[in-house]
C-alpha cells in the first residue's frame, strides 16, 4: 500500500541508525511496521522466548536485565532492542520490562534483515562490536553515538523546512498566532522585507499578549524580541545547544549567507543532550572563579577516555574537547568584562592553532590573540585590553591551558593589535616571506574568533586569502616548512623510529603523523582561498574545489582519521594507566593489523607531500 506515515518516518529519521537510511526507504518503512503498547511493569520480552521484531521505543521507557538479573540498560525514546535476538536464533536474550507506559514501533524481522543487507551502515550499528559499544555507552545514560553524531552535525542539515515560515513587522498579533497554528510552529522570525529583525514565540503570545490583555490587532513589531541571537547554518548543533542553554532561549534563527535559512528549536535538540560534555560546558558558564573553572576543565582527560571508549571519531572528539576550551575562554572574557566594564572599542578574541581548528585532544598550551577595532587609541584604551588579556591568559593557565612557550598570546603586546596592524603583519608575512618568520607565524594562519566582534576577523581573513592565493613564493615557503615534518617511514616502508633518549624506538604521532596532514590541508586552503579552518573541513572543501582529487582526498581523510584516532587511543590508554598522555608510541604496542594500516596511512601522507613538493619545486 502506497501511503506514507510521515509521523512515523519523521520520528525514525531523528534517531540513529534510522537516520542513516535514504529518505525514500524511510518514507516507505512505516507501512511494514506495527505498533504495540506495554503498560508500566509489563514484561515485553522474556529470555528464550520468540522475538520477531526490532522494537523501537516511541514513548515511555524500558529496562533491559540480563538473565542473571543485572541491569544492562535503560532505553528511552528512539532507542531499539531485540536486535541480538533477530541476528541470532530468534530467541530473546535479555528480559525487557516497561518502566513507564510505553508505545513501541515494531519492525518485523524480514524487513530488518533486508535493511541490514542493503545498508551496511545500518547493519554496522547492530553488529556485535557495535552492540558492545552501545551497552558501554548506556551505562552513562543514552547512546553516546547518537549524541556525538548530532553534535557534529551542521545546523543547515538539521533544518526541517525548505523555506522558513515568517511574519511581517506590521502584521497583527492575531495573524501571527494564526500562522503559527496553520504552519504548526512555535515561533515566527519577523522580517522587514528580506531582513531578519525580530522573533515572536508562543511564549511571547502567552506572557506578553494574553496575560497582558493586549489588543490582538497590535502589530507584531511591538511584541517581538528585536535583533534575536542567531547562529550560522555552518555552526554545529552542539553550538546551538550551548547557546540555548546559556541564554535560556528555546528558538534560534539560523542564517545562511546573511539570509534567514530557518529556525532551530530546543525541542528537536534538547531531548538528545545528556552527554557529559554538554553538562561540562553548562557547568563552565556557572563558574565565577579560576579554581571553579579549573575544576571543570580538569575533567577533560576523563571525557577523552569516555569518548574514545564510546567509539567517537577523532573528528568528533576534537570538536567536543575544543568546545570546552571555547567555553572556558568565553566565560573568562565575560568575567573579565564584568570586572573591567564594557570594552571601550570592539574587539575579537581569536583562538589560533589547534583550538582554532577544533582539534584539541586534551588540555594543551594556549594560543590566542586579540584583534582590536581600528578606533583603538593606545593612550585611552591600552590599559583596558592589557588587563583583559592578562586576566584571560592567567585564567586559562590556571585551568591547565598553560602559557604558550613562544608567547603567542593576547597578553603579548605584539599579538594584541588593531585590525590595521594585523593587516600589515599578514601583508608582510605573505608579500615578503622569510622562512624563519613564517615558521613562527604559521600558527596565525589557523584562526577562529571565539568571542566579540567576529566581523573584525572576517575582514582580515578576506585579505589573507586574497593575498595568499596570488603569491607563489609565499606558498612555496609554506610547503618547505611543511616538509620539515614527514611521516616516520623509510625507503622500504619500514618505520623510522627515534633513536636514543627518552623516546628510544618510538615515533611521534603528532609531529610525524597529524601535523603533516594539517599542513597539507592549510596550504591547499590558502591556495584555493577557502575559509574553512578545521582540517577535515578543509580537505572536504578542497575535494569539492578539485584541488585534491576525490580519491586523493578520501585517502587522505581516512589516513588522517586513522592516525589521529590511533594517537587518541594511545592517550586514553595512558590516562587510564594514570600516566601523563603524550604523543610517543612504540609500534610494537600496536596489533599487526593496526601497524599495517598505520604504515599505509603514513604512505598516503608521504605520497601527497612529495607531489606537493614537486608542484612547488621544493626539495624534500
Amino acid at each position: 500500500m502506497d501511503i506514507e506515515l510521515v509521523e512515523i518516518s519523521d520520528f525514525l529519521a531523528e534517531y540513529h541508525p534510522f537516520d542513516l537510511l535514504p529518505e525514500e526507504v524511510l518514507r516507505t518503512l512505516p507501512a511494514s511496521m506495527q505498533a504495540s503498547y506495554a503498560r508500566r511493569g509489563m514484561v515485553i520480552l522474556e529470555p528464550e522466548t520468540d522475538c520477531a521484531f526490532l522494537h523501537v521505543v516511541r514513548s515511555g521507557a524500558v529496562e533491559a536485565h540480563s538473565r542473571e538479573g543485572h541491569l544492562l540498560a535503560r532505553l528511552g525514546e528512539g532507542e531499539a532492542f531485540g536486535s541480538q535476538a533477530l541476528i541470532g536464533d530468534g530467541k530473546a536474550i535479555n528480559r525487557i520490562t516497561a518502566i513507564e507506559d510505553t508505545l513501541l514501533y515494531l519492525l518485523p524481522k524480514p524487513q530488518f534483515d533486508r535493511l541490514r543487507r542493503d545498508f551496511p551502515q545500518f547493519s554496522y550499528f547492530f553488529a556485535p562490536p557495535g552492540a558492545e559499544r552501545l551497552r558501554g555507552a548506556h551505562a552513562h545514560g543514552r547512546t553516546a553515538d547518537e549524541q556525538l553524531k548530532l553534535m557534529a552535525q551542521r545546523l543547515g542539515d538539521l533544518m526541517e523546512r525548505a523555506e522558513p515560515v515568517v511574519i511581517g513587522l506590521d502584521d497583527s498579533i492575531q495573524a501571527a498566532a494564526a500562522r503559527m497554528r496553520d504552519e504548526n510552529v512555535s515561533c515566527l522570525p519577523v522580517c522587514d522585507s528580506d531582513r531578519l529583525v525580530g522573533i515572536i514565540t508562543d511564549r511571547d503570545l502567552r506572557n506578553r499578549v494574553v496575560a497582558g490583555g493586549v489588543d490582538y490587532a497590535t502589530p507584531v513589531r511591538r511584541m517581538m524580541t528585536s535583533d534575536p541571537v542567531t547562529l550560522d547554518a555552518d555552526d554545529l548543533a552542539f553550538d546551538a545547544l550551548m547557546t540555548m542553554s546559556r541564554r535560556n532561549i528555546s528558538h534560534l534563527p539560523i542564517m545562511s549567507g546573511g539570509r534567514l535559512a530557518g529556525v532551530i528549536t530546543n525541542t528537536n535538540l534538547v531531548r538528545r543532550q545528556t552527554l557529559s560534555a554538554v553538562y561540562m560546558v553548562g557547568d563552565i558558564h556557572q563558574r565565577t572563579t579560576f579554581d571553579g573553572l579549573a575544576g571543570v576543565v580538569s575533567q577533560i582527560p576523563h571525557l577523552l577516555v569516555y569518548l574514545v571508549d564510546a567509539g567517537a571519531t577523532a573528528h568528533n572528539i576534537g570538536h567536543i574537547i575544543t568546545s570546552i576550551a571555547d567555553a572556558a575562554t568565553q566565560r573568562l572574557l565575560k568575567l573579565a568584562e564584568e570586572e573591567l566594564g564594557p570594552p571601550p572599542v570592539p574587539y575579537a578574541w581569536m583562538a589560533s592553532g589547534s583550538q582554532a581548528r577544533h582539534e584539541q585532544t586534551g588540555v594543551s598550551d594556549q594560543d590566542n590573540c586579540l584583534i582590536l577595532d581600528d578606533s583603538f587609541d593606545a593612550a585611552a584604551h591600552g590599559d583596558y585590553f592589557t588587563s583583559l588579556a592578562r586576566y584571560v591568559n592567567d585564567g586559562l593557565h590556571a585551568c591547565g591551558y598553560v602559557y604558550c612557550p613562544g608567547d603567542m598570546m593576547a597578553s603579548t603586546p605584539k599579538w594584541r593589535q588593531p585590525l590595521a596592524q594585523w593587516r600589515r603583519y599578514f601583508s608582510k608575512w605573505i608579500d615578503q616571506p622569510e622562512p624563519k618568520a613564517l615558521m613562527l607565524s604559521c600558527i596565525f594562519f589557523d584562526m577562529r574568533p571565539v568571542w566579540g566582534e567576529k566581523a573584525l576577523f572576517t575582514d582580515l581573513q578576506g585579505l589573507i586569502l586574497d593575498k595568499a592565493q596570488k603569491n607563489q613564493l609565499f606558498l612555496s615557503h609554506m610547503v618547505a616548512n611543511a616538509l620539515t615534518h614527514s611521516p616516520p617511514i623509510g625507503f622500504f616502508r619500514g618505520f623510522v623510529l627515534i633513536r636514543g633518549g627518552e623516546h628510544d624506538n618510538e615515533f611521534d604521532l603528532k609531529h610525524a603523523g597529524v601535523v603533516p596532514v594539517v599542513d597539507i590541508a592549510r596550504i591547499n586552503a590558502l591556495e584555493e582561498g577557502l575559509r574553512a579552518v578545521n582540517t577535515h573541513d578543509r580537505l572536504n572543501a578542497e575535494r569539492r574545489k578539485g584541488s585534491l582529487s576525490t580519491s586523493g582526498a578520501r585517502d587522505l581523510l581516512e589516513s588522517y582519521e586513522f592516525i589521529a584516532i590511533t594517537r587518541l587511543r594511545h592517550q586514553a590508554e595512558q590516562i587510564r594507566n594514570g600516566e601523563k598522555p603524550n604523543n610517543f608510541m612504540d609500534p610494537n604496542a600496536l596489533s599487526r593489523f593496526e601497524r599495517d594500516h598505520l604504515r599505509d596511512a603514513f604512505q598516503v601522507v608521504k605520497t601527497i607531500q612529495s607531489s606537493m613538493a614537486n608542484a612547488y619545486h621544493v626539495t624534500m
Binding site: 500500500m1 501511503i3 506515515l5 509521523e7 505498533a35 504495540s36 503498547y37 503498560r39 507506559d101 515494531l106
Partner: protein, 228 residues
C-alpha cells in the same frame, strides 16, 4: 445474552442476502466475532472519518482512515486513507479544518468506492473509534444512501471506555478530558502533529490497545466487556 447475539447473526444473514455484490456483501457474509471470545484473539479495525460537519443528515464524509489491529498490535501494512467526493457543495470552513483542498476532493472517487474499500476490511472484525457514535451515524447514512442497507457492526468506543473507567474510579470528568489527544496523554501516548483520518485512526487504535491493557492486564476478558 446468547439469544440476543443469535438474533444479530440471523439479521446479518438476511442483510447479506439483500446486499448487492461487492464489498458490502463480503462484509455481511462474514460472521461477527463471538462476544464471549477473548478480546485479545479478535481482530479490530480502528476507523476515523472526516466530514463536512457534525450532522449525518446534512453533512457528508470526505475522507476515511483505517488501520488493522491484530494480536493487540496495530498493523500498518493493513491501513488505508481514502478521500471521497461529496455530493453537495463544499463549505469553506470544512476544507480549512481538514486541510483537504477543494481540488483534491473534486478529483476523489465517489462515496461508494470508499465504502467498497472499507467494508471488506471490516468484515468479521470489530470497529474501534473515538466517540464511535459519529462514525457509526455517518457510515450508516452512507450505507443507506449507497446500498439502501443499514450499517451494523460490533463496535468499541474508546471515549466510552474512558468514561466508564473514570466513573468507576469516581473521578470527575472535566470539560475536554475525553478528547482523543487528552485521553492519549493519560496513557503516555505521543502527541501527533498532523491530523488526518489515517493519523487519527492510528491514534485511536493505539489508545484502544493501551486502554485494553490497563483494564485487563495480561488476562483474557470476553469481548463484550469492551464493546458498546
Amino acid at each position: 445474552m446468547m439469544g440476543f447475539f443469535r438474533t444479530w447473526d440471523v439479521r446479518r444473514e438476511w442483510l447479506a442476502r439483500k446486499a448487492p455484490e461487492g464489498g458490502v456483501r463480503t462484509f455481511y457474509r462474514t460472521p461477527y466475532p463471538w462476544p464471549e471470545d477473548d478480546y485479545r484473539e479478535i481482530e479490530y479495525v480502528a476507523v476515523d472519518l472526516e466530514t463536512t460537519g457534525l450532522n449525518s443528515v446534512e453533512h457528508e464524509i470526505i475522507s476515511i482512515g483505517w488501520v488493522l489491529i491484530r494480536d493487540q498490535r496495530l498493523d500498518f501494512s493493513v491501513m488505508g486513507h481514502q478521500l471521497v467526493r461529496p455530493f453537495g457543495e463544499l463549505t469553506e470552513e470544512s476544507a480549512v479544518i481538514h486541510r483537504i483542498t477543494h481540488d483534491e476532493l473534486v478529483a476523489a472517487p465517489p462515496l461508494r468506492d470508499g465504502l467498497e474499500r472499507l467494508l471488506p476490511v471490516l468484515a468479521g472484525r470489530v470497529m474501534v473509534a473515538h466517540h464511535a457514535r459519529i462514525e457509526w451515524r455517518f457510515l450508516n447514512a452512507a450505507c443507506r444512501k449507497v446500498y439502501r442497507l443499514p450499517f451494523e457492526v460490533p463496535t468499541v468506543d474508546t471515549l466510552l471506555l474512558e468514561k466508564r473507567l473514570l466513573r468507576a474510579r469516581d473521578q470527575e470528568i472535566t470539560k475536554g478530558a475525553l478528547r482523543l489527544d487528552a485521553v492519549r496523554q493519560a496513557y503516555n501516548l505521543p502527541r501527533y502533529r498532523a491530523h488526518n483520518a489515517l493519523v487519527d485512526a492510528i491514534a485511536c487504535g493505539e489508545l484502544f490497545i493501551a486502554q485494553a491493557q490497563h483494564r485487563c492486564g495480561a488476562k483474557g476478558r470476553p469481548l463484550r466487556e469492551l464493546t458498546i
